[in-house]
Amino acid sequence: MIKAILIFNNHGKPRLIRFYQYFAEDMQQQIIRETFHLVSKRDDNVCNFLEGGSLIGGSDYKLIYRHYATLYFVFCVDSSESELGILDLIQVFVETLDKCFENVCELDLIFHMDKGGLSAAPARAVSAVKNMNLPEIPRNINIGDINIKVPSLSPF
């Protein structure tokens, strides 16, 4: 199960945050800070998995992240998720964003929050990628021929 999805930039400024488990506002901030602290000090040539963040649930939880240009994409998952599977999911997620924005960049996430509920509802973006309404869902994704909802971006 995915517990949280955090996207922040190289300075730790959150760009897209979604928690699938309720945390109070200040706890969320603390989690983001701690996660950024853990992730940002890692080189690019080390593995993409981290264990034992103490804030979201201890030993059962893993952080799986990817670093693209200025953004970190961090998925916080429990032990029922496959590590490499999630890693690929992040890839799919980013590819999908890329499709929507024709070469996605950090600014798209800032300025296009009126599109398809992206920044407003990170849940939608992610659930669209996993084609789901819950953290876990059938993931019949095909990158060549996307049958997912994100591309039909309608302004509110």
């Binding site: 853990l38 034992g52 240009a69 600014l107 789901m132 819950l134």
Partner: protein, 1178 residues
């Protein structure tokens, strides 16, 4: 991604100039949101942003509260409110409007409304209640999109007490013609299952339908539910193995539509899910595993190494192969895969490879051996995560010979790491290894010093406790223990003399305790010097009060000899007026003791032995005091949870208007802070006045008979792993010799050296020191049980329970429990007043069963041998009638009669030869089978006949398997006693070798748990079975409670293993019939305040429907039908001996209108739930 940067740069000017061309990358300037975002990005300070947002919020407030605002404007305002919330400013005034928007808008407006609701509100928000009707309406809408939105929001924010209101409608959607609706419905039910499992248990059959759905999406969705269900109880879903295998075969074979492919791999995430399910199902089950060998082989073959996602599938495959019953060819292939992972240059794969190795290394240590050089390289890897994983792997393969190298590596890592989680974790591991495998005193003390200084005050408190206990209890030979203590004293003096300012408090506490207790062992040491050091500690800044207490109490032990009086005087002056009462008390005690030498030597004798200590953990010495206080009018003691429960007025929602609903589960209002009394182990460290980590040895002597709900002894007994020292092992290299001297040990150490590779010398040396002791012997036993390390701190060999009582009394500490075993054993036999005759164990009387099962006689044979009973075997025979099924009142009467016997329980150890002759249909004669679930599986050879004699004729459930590992099988049986549920746990040794030192520990937050007998067992012979039992009492109303527990045991000397288990108990286990007259019923009815009304299904039968229905209820739940008058019936039951629950049933049209009342909040709901369930299942 470099083009991303380019893109960013090229986008910048246009964005900064606020160019508003239409197009994909541009922001619409017309929308208010657009201008808001743009304004914010132009700001330069946080302060300005605050001002801007405040203005924005004020405008929003005005807009949403104005009656003229159209829905369209509202939608726009909502989006801006979301944006403000996202920036961290509260816009709570819009929440209610979000709900309104979802209620009244058109589809698009609804969508925004739902979106805002799911972002603004969390599960515990009160406003959600207002959403129920909207969601219900949308769920029943004919518009697909509206149904989808409703299902989505249901699974996102609905709390568990609102589920009943919408459950029937969601359930209906499982048969919807559109697959997206079906899929969303399945997922919503999955969410319900996660937060309130007992509310959806009646739809399990429908999940099966979803699994067979023609749409792969729906099927995949149902796998989430199954993965969860199977994780919790794999035995119940074994028959689905075939289906899962077929599905996986089809997926792997490419039968799914092409758009499920990802990088030309068919539905990889689906495959991962299925592989996990198969791994869970096949665990330790040969017949089930055989079904899946083919498909696993196929998956391995198909998943060629070419893309990230195929690696993910391979990894899951390998894990599944090693989880299920092993098949050598598959394991070989999997091992090859792991090899590829470990050797891969890709760092992520290396990580997974290490993880896989860690997973399999206990089964097949040779695999680690093959990759030793890679592992060595990983130890020096720049990535800390890889390093940590490698250490985890090394931790699993540690033995006496490589312990020094591995611990050194771990400590090295500790020095580098700085996050708390890693430190606590690693420190615990080092301490465990040091205690288990320490080669000599010096190393042990040094290592523990490192542990304490690294671990600081974060580490688990049981590390210092067990360390002190180890020191205090000493080892096998007095000389050895003296050496160890002396060494500790030496090293701590040295530590204190150096700069000790940075030492953590826990370490200081240990140091002061050891110095107080053992500094007299060191000859020629000036007491004054020790005192000086300790006094210095006392005065230092940054030392906590708790530490000061420790120091003071060790100074108390040291106030003897020259200068003692002055010191006492000085300390009293300094601390006697301290603000802290604890310190003041310590100081006063010190003064008293220093004045009265006699008292001092009596309370604090030198060289305390631990054998004589007995702790009355039931506090019975206070009985007189309590009685006096009660007589003087004091209120009786109520445990904290009870007090809180009385204060807590229930706040349950009444969901009646929604008709078909299920009752609200009240477990959310239940108190979770209640600590099981058994957890109150007395730890020496906390109190300060009593520095003695006492009460360990004597505890097993506690006589718990007749004492209800006492502090159980299992709180600390499982921690009895305090090793004691064996004869000194000269050096690590001689371990081969020493292990062979120990008889059965099969340790072969030379294996690691046999693979010289051309690598640099240093690494090879490291490798040989790390992997020494792993080797060929493991190949013979896949389960990896054969390792018998020779240990330094080894427990004394268990005293054989022999007939010579002198031996028992001579052997001090360790014999307590064995003696009590014998005692209880004899005691039990005597009480049953059966002749104990020595007989050969082959003879036994087969059970006689009459055909109709209504009344039968069983003759059971027991051969209670303790293995060490000088081979003497005794057999008891017993005949007893069982009750007829329908006569519940007579059962009750019978049970009350039996109730007094209950405490005379005992352990029965049965020789395995009996089992083969056991009739297979043992479970069917079970007259008292009241367990609601009919789906439990039974162990093939489960010995229901093993139930202790006094429990045998009480109603009881079938025997279910709780947990199992390679050597121990746990199963349980519920026995329904009037005043409690007796949980009987059978421990069966499934191997040939005896298991030592079994300790069972059981916890349940919501129940009162008391252990009767048998939760500590010295020796369980090969293939033998032992019985231990607990009484469980439920005070509050819970529909279902979960209990968890662990069994720790030693399969080989010093090889402590733990086997966790968990089980669920339902309220039905605790319901007992309440026999009263109609008049009493009438009086009681009026006095109760908590009630629930509900219409239930009416059963049709050949008799009167009311009678049929009530009989059905009585059959499933233990109810007492008080009276039936015309179309009304009154029924009564109670929660054990506690709160009654009265049911008033009336036929109302086609249904049964039930009105429940009770004095206990929540009980009516729970009982109603089970009635409903019983009738549905009927």
């Amino acid at each position: 991604m470099s083009d991303v940067v380019e893109k960013t740069l090229s986008a910048l000017p246009s964005l900064l100039s606020l160019d508003s061309q239409p197009g994909a990358g541009k922001l619409s300037s017309t929308s208010k949101l657009g201008s808001l975002i743009r304004n914010i990005t132009e700001l330069t300070s946080k302060h300005e942003e605050e001002k801007l947002i405040k203005r924005e919020l004020a405008a929003l407030k005005e807009q949403v509260s104005s009656p003229n605002t159209t829905m369209k404007q509202m939608r726009e305002a909502m989006v801006r409110a979301i944006y403000c919330e996202m920036l961290g400013y509260e816009a709570s005034f819009t929440y209610i409007h979000a709900i309104k928007l979802a209620q009244q808008g058109t589809v698009l407006e609804k969508r925004v409304g739902y979106l805002a609701v799911s972002l603004f509100l969390n599960e515990s928000h009160d406003l959600l209640l207002l959403l129920v009707n909207t969601v219900l309406k949308d769920l029943q809408s004919s518009n697909l999109i509206e149904v989808c939105m409703a299902l989505t929001v249901v699974s996102q924010v609905f709390p568990k007490d609102m589920i009943p209101a919408i459950l029937p409608v969601v359930e209906e959607k499982l048969t919807h013609p559109k697959e997206i609706i079906r899929r969303k419905a399945v997922l919503a039910l999955y969410k319900f299952y996660l937060i309130a499992p007992n509310q959806v248990q009646h739809i399990h059959a429908k999940f099966r339908k979803a699994l067979c759905d023609k749409d792969p999406g729906v099927m995949t969705a149902s796998l989430h539910i199954y993965l969860q269900l199977i994780k919790e109880s794999p035995d119940m879903y074994k028959e689905l193995t075939g289906s899962f295998v077929t599905i996986l075969k089809q997926v792997v074979g490419g039968k799914l539509p092409i758009d499920f492919n990802y990088h030309s791999v068919p539905a990889p995430w689906l495959q991962i899910q299925l592989l996990r399910i198969l791994g869970l199902l096949g665990r330790e089950d040969q017949s089930t595993s055989e079904l899946m060998y083919d498909v696993l082989d196929e998956s391995l073959r198909r998943a060629e190494m070419n893309h990230n996602i195929t690696y993910a599938i391979l990894y899951e495959c390998v894990k599944a192969i090693y989880s299920i019953y092993p098949k050598s060819e598959l394991c070989e292939k999997a091992a090859k895969c792991i090899g590829n992972f470990v050797l891969s240059p890709k760092i992520n794969l290396k990580y997974l490879g290490l993880k896989a190795l860690t997973y399999v290394v206990q089964q097949d240590a040779n695999l680690a051996l093959q990759h030793q050089m890679t592992i060595i390289e990983c130890l020096d890897h720049p990535d800390l995560i890889i390093k940590k994983e490698t250490l985890e792997l090394l931790f699993r393969i540690t033995n006496t010979q490589n312990v020094t190298v591995i611990v050194e590596k771990m400590l090295g890592f500790l020095k580098l790491s700085n996050d708390d989680y890693t430190i606590v974790d690693l420190v615990g591991k080092v301490a465990e290894l040091a205690e288990k495998y320490a080669p000599d005193n010096e190393w042990f003390i040094q290592t523990m010093n490192e542990v304490f200084s690294f671990g600081g005050d974060m580490m688990q408190p049981d590390i210092p406790n067990s360390f002190l206990r180890l020191l205090a209890e000493g080892c096998e030979s007095a000389e050895e223990s003296r050496q160890l203590r002396l060494y500790a004293v030496d090293s701590y003096l040295a530590v204190l003399q150096k700069d000790s300012a940075h030492l953590p408090q826990r370490f200081l506490q240990i140091i002061s305790w050891v110095l107080g207790e053992y500094s007299h062992l060191k000859e020629g040491l000036d007491v004054q010097e020790v005192r000086q050091l300790l006094m210095k500690l006392l005065d230092r800044k940054g030392v906590t009060t708790e530490t000061r207490c420790w120091v003071l109490s060790s100074l108390m032990k040291l106030c003897e000899g020259p200068g003692a009086d002055e010191m006492a005087q000085e300390l009293v002056e300094r601390w006697g007026s301290s603000l802290d009462p604890l310190l003041r008390q310590q100081a006063q005690e010190l003064l008293c003791l220093s004045l009265d030498k006699d008292l001092r030597t009596r309370t604090l004798p030198l060289a305390t032995t631990w054998d004589g200590l007995e702790v009355d953990s039931s506090l019975s010495f206070l009985d007189g005091f309590v009685a006096e206080a009660l007589a003087a009018g004091a209120a009786p003691y109520k445990p904290p949870h009870q007090r809180q429960q009385e204060q807590c007025q229930e706040k349950a929602l009444s969901l009646e208007p929604y008709g078909l609903s299920l009752p609200v589960s009240l477990s959310s209002c239940s108190l979770t802070d209640r600590q099981s009394p058994t957890l109150l182990s007395m730890s020496s460290g906390q109190s300060g006045n009593s520095t003695e980590p006492s009460n360990k040895a004597g505890s097993s002597k506690l006589n718990l008979e007749g004492v209800k709900r006492v502090w159980g002894k299992e709180g600390y007994l499982p921690h009895r792993e305090v090793p004691e020292e064996s004869a000194p092992v000269e050096e690590a290299s001689s371990a081969v010799q020493s292990s062979s001297q120990q008889g059965g040990a099969s340790d072969k150490s030379s294996m690691a050296h046999t693979e010289p590779v051309e690598q640099d010398k240093e690494k090879q040396q490291l490798a040989s020191s790390l992997f020494v002791g792993l080797g060929s012997h493991n190949a013979t036993s896949l389960m990896g049980k054969s390792e018998t390390p020779s240990q330094r701190f080894r427990r004394k060999p268990r005293t054989q329970v022999s007939t010579s009582s002198s031996v028992t009394s001579e052997k001090s500490d360790s014999s307590h429990s064995s003696r009590s075993t014998v005692d209880s054993f004899l005691y039990g036999s005597l009480l049953e007043e059966e002749p104990v005759l020595p007989q050969p164990n082959t003879s036994h009387t087969p059970r006689v069963t009459t055909a109709n099962g209504s009344s039968e006689t069983k003759t059971q044979s027991f051969i209670p041998t303790n293995g060490t009973f000088e081979g003497e075997e005794a057999e008891e025979e017993e005949e007893e009638p069982t009750q007829t099924e329908n006569d519940i009142t007579s059962v009750t009467a019978h049970r009350t009669k039996q109730g007094s016997l209950i405490m005379n329980s005992d352990m029965v150890i049965v020789q395995p030869t009996m089992w083969s002759d056991q009739p297979k249909d043992w479970s069917q004669d079970d007259s008292g089978d009241l367990l609601s679930s009919g789906s439990d599986t039974h162990m093939e050879t489960s010995p229901l006949l093993l139930l202790p004699a006094d429990l045998r004729d009480l109603p009881h459930s079938n025997i279910n398997t709780l947990a199992a590992d390679q050597s121990l099988l746990l199963s349980s049986c519920h026995v329904y006693r009037d005043d409690a549920l007796v949980l009987v746990i059978f421990l069966s040794n499934s191997g040939e070798t005896p298991i030592q030192e079994i300790a069972v520990q059981l916890n349940c937050e919501q129940l009162e748990v008391a252990s009767l007998r048998g939760n500590v067992i010295d020796t369980l012979d090969g293939l033998g079975t032992s019985v231990c039992r607990y009484t469980l009492v439920m005070d509050g109303a819970h529909t279902q409670v979960e209990m968890t527990g662990t069994v720790s045991y030693q399969a080989g000397p010093g090889h402590t293993q733990t086997l966790p288990f968990s089980s669920k108990l339902s309220l039905a286990d605790f319901i007992r019939p309440l026999v009263i007259t109609t008049e009493e019923y009438g009086k009681l009815w009026l006095s109760f305040s908590h009630d629930v009304k509900q219409n239930l299904k009416l059963l049709k039968g050949d008799r009167d429907p009311l009678v049929t229905t009530l009989d059905a209820l009585k059959e499933t739940l233990q109810l007492h039908i008080v009276d039936i008058i015309g179309s009304e019936g009154i029924v009564a039951c109670r929660l054990l001996q506690g709160a009654p629950c009265l049911l008033h049933c009336r036929i109302h049209g086609d249904s049964l209108a039930v009105w429940l009342r009770s004095s206990l909040p929540g009980l009516p709901d729970c009982v109603l739930y089970y009635c409903q369930k019983a009738l549905l299942e009927h």
